[in-house]
């Protein structure tokens, strides 16, 4: 069974600074996807970024980028130029590359952006 671990329950960062959220996972699969989801206080889960394991290049979406280390089974999220609207719970998630796309989630990291 796959497991996803987020070791930082809470983090804070000053507006305009950079912050990195950590995620490690355990799997014997070679083909899979990794995701970061954001859940703001409104509770609406939003996909932030997605990485396909067979791609060596790290995914980037505007101010959000990942550091994907497949051998180390590590998938961290970097948020640059943090904004107040980035305040949210962030979940790392794993999905096997097979029909039936079940997600396995980490426990989440609460990120607070301070002005």
């Amino acid at each position: 069974a796959q497991t996803v671990t987020q070791s930082q329950p809470e983090m804070s960062v000053q507006e305009a600074e950079t912050v990195t959220l950590s995620c490690t996972y355990d799997t014997s699969e070679s083909n899979y996807y990794l995701f970061w989801y954001k859940q703001p206080p409104s509770r609406q889960m939003i996909l932030v970024i997605r990485q396909e394991a067979y791609k060596q290049q790290n995914a980037t979406e505007n101010r959000f980028s990942v550091n994907f280390q497949k051998a180390a089974k590590s998938f961290s999220l970097k948020i640059s130029d943090s904004q107040l609207g980035d305040t949210a719970m962030y979940f790392c998630a794993f999905m096997k590359r097979q029909y039936g796309n079940k997600l396995v989630f980490g426990a989440g990291t609460i990120l607070r952006v301070k002005s």
Binding site: R43, M95, Y99, G100, L103, F105
Partner: protein, 112 residues
């Protein structure tokens, strides 16, 4: 815009009551999911469905059942609610085979 709606944002029920949580998606997605979210545990999969009338157990199906009579609607049923089912419930849908999951706004259920 994909929209996943859930019937209630907040729900309070009594122990032993039968509870229905409804989820509707408007994008003709084959796959639908029910998750439970608890502090420190993240989201855990209760049940999922690949198609109408098809369902499979997730990681924590005990005490729950589901119904999918129409493609757009996926219901979660608590046959006899218990206090340990107090939680946030999130529904999601996605196109196959590995499409992004789109989430509803969640239902915060309290069982007294």
């Amino acid at each position: 815009d994909v929209k996943v709606t859930q019937s209630s944002r907040y729900l309070v029920k009594r122990t032993g009551e039968k509870v229905f949580l409804e989820c509707v998606q408007d994008m003709d997605h084959e796959n639908m999911f029910w998750y439970r979210q608890d502090p420190g545990l993240g989201l855990r999969l209760i049940y999922f469905s690949y198609d109408v009338k098809m369902k499979e157990k997730g990681d924590i199906p005990e005490g729950y059942s589901v119904s999918r009579e129409k493609k757009e609607r996926f219901s979660l049923i608590l046959e006899s609610a218990s206090t340990n089912q107090t939680s946030m419930y999130l529904c999601a849908s996605s196109p196959p085979p590995q499409g992004e999951q789109f989430f509803g706004p969640g239902t915060r259920l309290t069982v007294l």
